[in-house]
Every structure is written in C-alpha cells, then in structure tokens.
Symmetry: C2
Subunit: 149 residues, 2 copies
C-alpha cells in the first residue's frame, strides 16, 4: 500500500477543513483489497456544531453506510493527526484493520492509552503506525493555531 500517497490525500482533506477555519485534520479510508479510497472526510466540528464530530467518527459513519457493513475489517484509515481516545476506541470498535496517522498529539492523543487498555482487556487492536509524513501534518496544525492567536 502506498502509504505516502494516501496520507497526502488525508492532507488534502485537512486543507478543506482549513478553508472553513476548522482545526485542519483530515482522513481517508482505503479498501485493503482494491487499494482504492472508499471515503474521505475532514474535521467540521464547528460548522456542524457538535463537539464529537471528529473526522474519524464521521468517516466511519460514512463508510459503514457506503459498504452497508457493521464492521470495516478490510480497510485502512489514514488520519493526519493521532486520534484522541474516543476516535482510537471507535477505530477499534469498527475493527478497522490498520491505522496510519501523521502528527503526534501529545495533549489529546489517545493511542497509547487505548493500546494499554486493549492489550490488558484483549480487545481488537488495529495495526498502528504513527508519524507518517509527520512534518507536513504537524506544520498544517501549527500554522493554523499560530494564525488563531
């Protein structure tokens, strides 16, 4: 799987969020067999006026609907930012096979906590790869928060 290509597509989505003055986070979900993008989404928390509409939640909703599947076993998610604990847990609950994320989120990142919980409780854990195109993903967020000040 061309990891950089798909992370770039997630960055394209993050830039759409930026255009709406939203925190620039974007995601794509890819079919593991065809290696085609099934769904794409970006953070619209303010526009949709809902604090839990992180792009991971929205893209899982979309993909289940599109595929008419309760679980997304044969898919991979690419997100520009490390998922929070809600989204990390959602990715696990949806049985998404692999997760690639860009920038690390030292404050709100949920991966490490979730990994510990999952290992302890023997819950579905996706393959997880962080720091993909980290600089590009990080810069996007950094510039956004700088412009907010």
């Amino acid at each position: 799987m061309n990891v950089d290509y798909f992370m770039n597509e997630a960055i394209v989505e993050a830039n759409k969020a930026l255009a709406f003055n939203e925190i620039p986070v974007g995601a794509v979900i890819v079919d593991n067999n065809t290696e085609k993008i099934i769904s794409r989404n970006y953070n619209q928390m303010n526009r949709l006026n809902n604090a839990i509409r992180h792009c991971e939640i929205d893209i899982i909703f979309d993909t289940c609907k599109k595929l008419n599947q309760k679980y997304l076993e044969d898919t991979t998610i690419f997100v520009t930012l490390e998922p929070c604990s809600m989204c990390a847990s959602a990715i696990s609950k949806a049985h998404i096979h692999s997760l690639y994320y860009g920038a690390f989120d030292e404050k709100n990142g949920g991966i490490e906590n979730i990994r510990i919980t999952f290992e302890r409780k023997n819950i579905f854990t996706p393959n997880i790869y962080g720091g993909i195109m980290e600089d590009k993903c990080k810069k996007l967020l950094k510039n956004f928060f700088k412009s907010m000040r």
Copy 2:
C-alpha cells in the same frame, strides 16, 4: 434531580432496543435547568449496521442538533450500562455535566480508564455516578444474553 425517574426512562429506551433484538441499552439526556428530557435513544447498532452507533453517540448527535449547541454543559446523561471507552470519552468531549449509569460493564466499561486518563491529562471530567438501579439494568442485559444462547 429525580435520578430514579430518569434512569427508569432510560430503561424504557433499553426495552425498545430489546424489541428489535438489539443489546438492550438505553439513554436519556436531561436539561439540568428545566429537568426535562431533551433526547432519548437506544442501541440500534445492528439495525443501523454500524459498530460505533452506540446509543450514547447517537443521543449526543441528536442533542447537539436539537439544541444547536456544540457542547452540552447544562445537561445530564442517564445510561442503563456503563459507557465503553469511546462513549465515556465522547461524553467528556461534549462536556456533559453529569453521567449516571446503571449496570457496571466489567469487560468493556470505559469509565475507570477514562477517569485515570482524564485526571492525568486535566481534561473535562463529568460527575460520574454508577450503579443506579443496577439490578434492574443488569437483569435486562442478563436476560437478553441468556435468550441469545
């Protein structure tokens, strides 16, 4: 606030899930000022074919929409079962003021993990009260899983 009254209303919702042969979990969200129910919901994961449509996620979506609010500070959520880590985190992210839940979920409950994470990271933590009408809530689930065997 009449805790037992509202938990009973959440149980009414859980029974609706049961009628659809879904895991019987129900929830209501109450306005802290008027003490009236804003939204009610029950687990429809199978019917809606989406592994992350726990009733807490759905009811937060509904309530943000109804109130046209990104955050739900002045509300209380009643759930018949201890929220999983995804939902516990969603409840925190939505800034729901208080959470009352019925049965404890020893396997998938997310409250303790989330509490530890939140305390460590200084993230919004609702007031949390577990074991409300525990026996009634527990029996509902126990009977359901017994009937599944």
